[in-house]
Point group: C2
């Protein structure tokens, strides 16, 4: 298997981008990544996108978007696994380069979510849940995560204040990220005082609806120096994918994210790394409880210790293990198909020492964790500066 490096990163400002179309925001991110890599052609494009059919009425993005940047003819494919679509598009590109089927791959993620009204967006997102066991009964994602939070509280004594600490930290980080959707300081009391959406989750425990895109460029590691000279390069050291039942009703333990545990195990084994080797991580904080459960599933903290760790500040910038320096889904935004690629982009910048005010000093090994639905699918990637 060939080793694979990331040689370019493209991020754009995320938000409610009513003046731009899906193809426009995608092209901005794609061209930024190509520019960063210093190339103007690739062998393959991969596109992570959850539901362009329901959000904007357009499928067949792989072809459409290649043409949008003047590359009609190039191989191109779209990958979907709900909110984990972006990282699965990254894995697809990684496999192509690792196999030697493609040399240069433009990995992208995009979602345009604000062109439909709130009810239609909720319906579209709801198709990531099990239609027969969950959707038809009317439950949506805040409700599903609220049930997981309730069980986590019951098993481990996790508190609403601990959940709120995750939101406060990620909004503090987002203030340092010029691309983030929200630039506002949020206190623990702000979270606890915000509207209850699905008990125990308040409005400020939830990630937002976002338009956004992100991109990175992959190349074989042994050819990466041709493109970036003698500068530091980021290598893809480990890649793990896994699933769980998408219906909560079929899970043995709602306080654990089994897909994250399995994906992490696979990625750690492949990279020859342990949780204690990780200097910085981007994890899937679609709701505050998700970040707490993910940090436990990834082995950063023991089960039940994720909440106290967040409240004590261990996951803040400058502390033991900074989590979501980008602001996470909570503050940076969550354009579902783009999120997984943006996580890779953030960790790449961190490992290159290019993360500006939110830089984690000395970060050489980083991790990303991206999740679909209520944990029905998850990926974990481990990146290393070499």
């Amino acid at each position: 298997m060939r080793e694979v490096a990331i040689i370019g990163v493209g991020m754009i400002d995320w938000g409610e981008l009513w003046g731009k179309s899906l193809r426009e925001i995608w092209a901005e991110a794609a061209l930024a990544a190509l520019d960063d890599a210093g190339i103007d052609r690739v062998d393959l494009i991969t596109v992570g996108c959850m539901s362009p059919g329901l959000f904007v009425g357009q499928e067949h993005l792989a072809s459409l978007l290649a043409d949008e940047i003047g590359m009609a003819g190039v191989a191109s494919t779209r990958v979907e696994s709900a909110c984990a679509s972006g990282s699965l598009a990254f894995r697809a590109g990684f496999a192509e380069v690792a196999a030697g089927l493609s040399d240069l791959v433009l990995v992208t993620g995009v979602e345009k979510m604000t062109d439909v009204d709130g009810a239609d967006a909720t319906y579209a997102l709801g198709t990531a849940a099990d239609q027969e066991l969950e959707g038809f009964h009317g439950i949506t994602f805040p409700g599903l995560y609220a049930m997981m939070a309730r069980v986590h509280m019951a098993h481990h004594g996790t508190t609403s204040r601990q959940l709120a600490a995750v939101a406060a930290k990620n909004h503090a980080n987002g203030l340092l990220n010029p691309h983030a959707q929200y630039h506002m300081r949020v206190s623990i009391d702000d979270v606890l005082g915000s509207t209850m959406v699905a008990d125990p989750l308040h409005l400020l425990d939830c990630s937002p609806i976002t338009d956004g895109a992100a991109a990175v460029v992959l190349a074989p590691l042994d050819k990466a120096k041709d493109h970036v000279g003698n500068r530091t390069v980021v290598k893809v050291a480990g890649s793990g994918l896994a699933t769980d039942t998408i219906a909560l009703a079929n899970r043995e333990d709602l306080a654990r994210l089994r897909a994250v545990e399995l994906a992490a195990e696979r990625a750690y084994v492949m990279a020859g790394r342990r949780p204690s080797d990780i200097h910085v991580a981007e994890v899937h904080d679609c709701f505050t409880i998700a970040e707490i459960m993910a940090t436990e599933a990834l082995g950063f903290f023991e089960p039940g210790e994720g909440g106290p760790a967040a409240e004590r500040g261990l996951t803040a910038l400058g502390d033991r293990l900074p989590i979501n320096p980008s602001g996470g889904l909570k503050s940076k935004g969550h354009p579902v198909g783009a999120t997984g690629v943006a996580q890779i982009a953030e960790i790449t910048l961190q490992l290159l020492g290019k993360a500006g005010q939110r830089q984690v000093e000395g970060a050489r090994v980083g991790l990303t964790q991206n999740m679909g639905g209520s944990g029905g699918s998850s990926t974990v990637h481990i990146l290393e500066a070499v």
Copy 2:
């Protein structure tokens, strides 16, 4: 790069399967392929599906379907490129095995199209066209292919009778395929006498709306013998992907399928094969004109010779180069996400000498060509008996 073999095939009866759900038909095909391969676990599942969001209101299939066959936990991913989704799922699995990331991969395709009414199905399929340049103006796929047919007729003198000959041949082949949606003899005059849908395409020039699923199992070639003993194995010799503008308005020549030409070139180079080496092919006959244009783009016939070749019977079973022995999309049916995988399944059976009454004698090298939209994306795979 590791060489990759197909060690199992799963096909089910296709049609209007109103009594079954998407997950049920998928599971039938998936389990049939696993049974054929003699295995009960895989490292990865890939799912080709165009628009489960619009057709049945369910995304996140990769996780849902893994759980449906008792494999929650396994890595799983969904791939989409409109009607080429199935073959892109095959390519995704191929890349994983070739890279050494996965050993055993269950490659699947599925579409459940009859759970919505005709207008909604037309809308869903229409999302494979360019929304801004085509969809918003009201054109649907019969109209797009009719324009291509008109230009082909004008450039090359292709006739309605030649188009009809494709339908007659494929329906004759479909009579020999127990899984086909339609078992009926159709004459050239039947086609010419059927309702005009979009001039010059009659109803019987068009492939139908279908529910269906198909699956194959991949393994490293050097381990394939562990599973199938000393029997003949089918190797994946070549894989080519390409795109074109999805909007017809942006193409230089509507009488050519540029994505098919590029994908074929890439697959032939990889396999070290030429068009004259191919003994049997499954091509994407969503409309009769598409088969004629594809056989030209694949290099089987010179531009303008595809129509006469079909009318003279050169592509019939027992003649020079049998095309679509399965009955093709026209007679076997066209559940869009499943079609590309079913093409691989058919050629695998042909190369193993297991195609029953429709067997192409002595076939050792076969080709599949699967296409998205009006040719906005295409794949070509070359398979060989070894």
